[in-house]
């Protein structure tokens, strides 16, 4: 699914200055716990979260996440936006709740990460 479809499916706004809407993501995940994101997120995925501090951007960068959607209409502070622009990570904001935002994307065909277990990333 490309980011334009994400944007349209969630009636979202682009929060960061530049966003390449043709970029493709292969799966989605939602969490407010950054350690969970680091443990379970897949590369080239989309992250939905209610947290807006700059560490969310850092976490996404480390985990190879392609874009972040802030739910419940949350707007990140300037430092979060600056960091995202520095590393070229698109940020979106949607007024849907976490539950509904996930549901809409899933219904539109964006898969999740499947059954998860604390997998050993060295042999996966």
């Amino acid at each position: 699914m490309d980011l334009r479809t994400v944007l349209n499916t969630l009636d979202a706004e682009i929060v960061s200055r530049q966003a390449d809407l043709q970029q493709e993501i292969t799966s989605g995940g939602a969490a407010d716990l950054m350690s969970d994101v680091l443990a379970f997120a897949r590369p080239d995925s989309l992250l939905l979260t209610g947290l807006v501090n700059p560490q969310v951007v850092r976490t996404a960068e480390m985990a190879g996440i392609r874009a972040i959607v802030f739910v419940r209409g949350k707007r990140p502070p300037a430092e979060t936006i600056h960091l995202a622009e520095e590393i070229g990570l698109p940020l979106f904001s949607t007024r849907y709740t976490m539950y509904e935002a996930c549901g809409r994307l899933y219904a539109a065909g964006l898969p999740g990460h499947g059954l998860c277990h604390l997998y050993d990333q060295t042999t996966a």
């Binding site: 390449d20 716990l33 501090n53 560490q55 850092r58 985990a63 990333q121 060295t122």
Partner: protein, 321 residues
């Protein structure tokens, strides 16, 4: 011009010729019909911040109307007219599978700012403006640049050109305690270093996640911060994280998923869920954790890949791509 840069220019030109209109055009086209009142067309331009649209009847393209046509209608007080009366009927279109170079040439020759794009059966499938071309080319150039850059900085160059019995590159980072907002800066640099040295994305990711968890531990849990030393060798990455206290009283307990001593404000930030050390262990090929209360903590992690294939090597399928 050196042979190498001549080669690169040629490659760029090839890329631009290779780029097809359908790769950079906008697919969701805003259109009007011949019956649309000019007044409504004006509002559409304002709301969508565009300067013209194709005019369609069913799925047939019948004309094109622009800001210029609107200004003429305004001057003549003809805003009650319909788009069909004011539009340009002979529309120059381009095919979606044509090269972008075609579009650039046609724009220069005809002076048009936009072209409706049709497929080979004549249906409207997109629109192409000067902005789309610039964005498309820049993106392509950037991708190409990244490829060229990562080729330039392959480990094999660095590690093969410098001869020693054991060559390694050492990166040192100082991490301040409590510096939450800058947390991850070191790990970001580490990740980029691995990538530039030719490490494949999965390897760069494993190292980055482990480094980031370690860095956040220094920020959240130590009295005076600590140091991260990353040693990159042709066959492994070794990270040593040290601090001077307070130390971990019970390592077994600290390794248990969900166990955490993080303060509430850290948890509100999405950290301190008691998963950090487990994450590090799962990302690394080997991990060694030693700690003494009052003395500090010493964490060592190894990421291995087999020589002589080096950082770009083939041992772990994961690290390949």
């Amino acid at each position: 011009m050196s042979a190498r840069s001549t080669l690169e220019v040629t490659r760029l030109q090839e890329l631009i010729y290779d780029l097809k209109i359908k790769e950079i055009m906008q697919c969701d086209v805003i259109t009007v019909t011949p019956q649309t009142p000019m007044q409504e067309f004006k509002e559409l331009l304002r709301l969508k911040r565009i300067s013209g649209t194709p005019v369609v009847e069913g799925d047939r393209l019948v004309g094109i109307i622009s800001l210029e046509d609107l200004i003429k209608a305004l001057e003549r007080g003809e805003m009650n007219a319909q788009v069909g009366d004011k539009m340009t009927r002979t529309v120059k279109t381009l095919y979606a599978d044509e090269s972008v170079v075609q579009a650039v040439n046609q724009m220069a020759r005809l002076g048009f700012g936009r072209f409706p794009i049709v497929n080979r059966s004549g249906q409207l499938v997109g629109i192409l403006t000067r902005g789309d071309i610039i964005r498309g080319l820049l993106r392509r150039l950037q991708l190409n640049y990244q490829e060229v850059e990562s080729q330039h900085y392959r480990t094999s160059h660095l590690f093969e050109e410098i001869v020693s019995d054991q060559t390694s590159l050492v990166l040192r980072y100082r991490v301040q305690a409590g510096d939450f907002s800058r947390g991850g800066t070191a790990s970001s640099h580490i990740k980029r270093a691995i990538e530039r040295l030719g490490g494949k994305p999965p390897l760069a990711r494993r190292v980055a996640v482990a480094a980031y968890e370690s860095e956040m531990n220094l920020i959240i849990h130590t009295d005076q911060g600590g140091e991260m030393v990353v040693e990159i060798q042709p066959d492994q990455v070794h990270i040593v994280v040290t601090d001077t206290g307070p130390g971990i009283p019970d390592i077994e307990q600290a390794m248990r998923p969900g166990f955490s001593t993080a303060p509430e404000w850290i948890r509100e930030m999405g950290f301190g869920a008691g998963m950090g050390l487990i994450n590090i262990k799962n990302c690394a090929d080997e991990m060694k954790l030693e700690s003494a209360v009052g003395a500090g903590t010493h964490l060592e992690i190894w990421f291995r890949f087999s020589p002589p294939t080096s950082l770009t090597g083939e041992k772990k399928e994961e690290d390949l791509l």
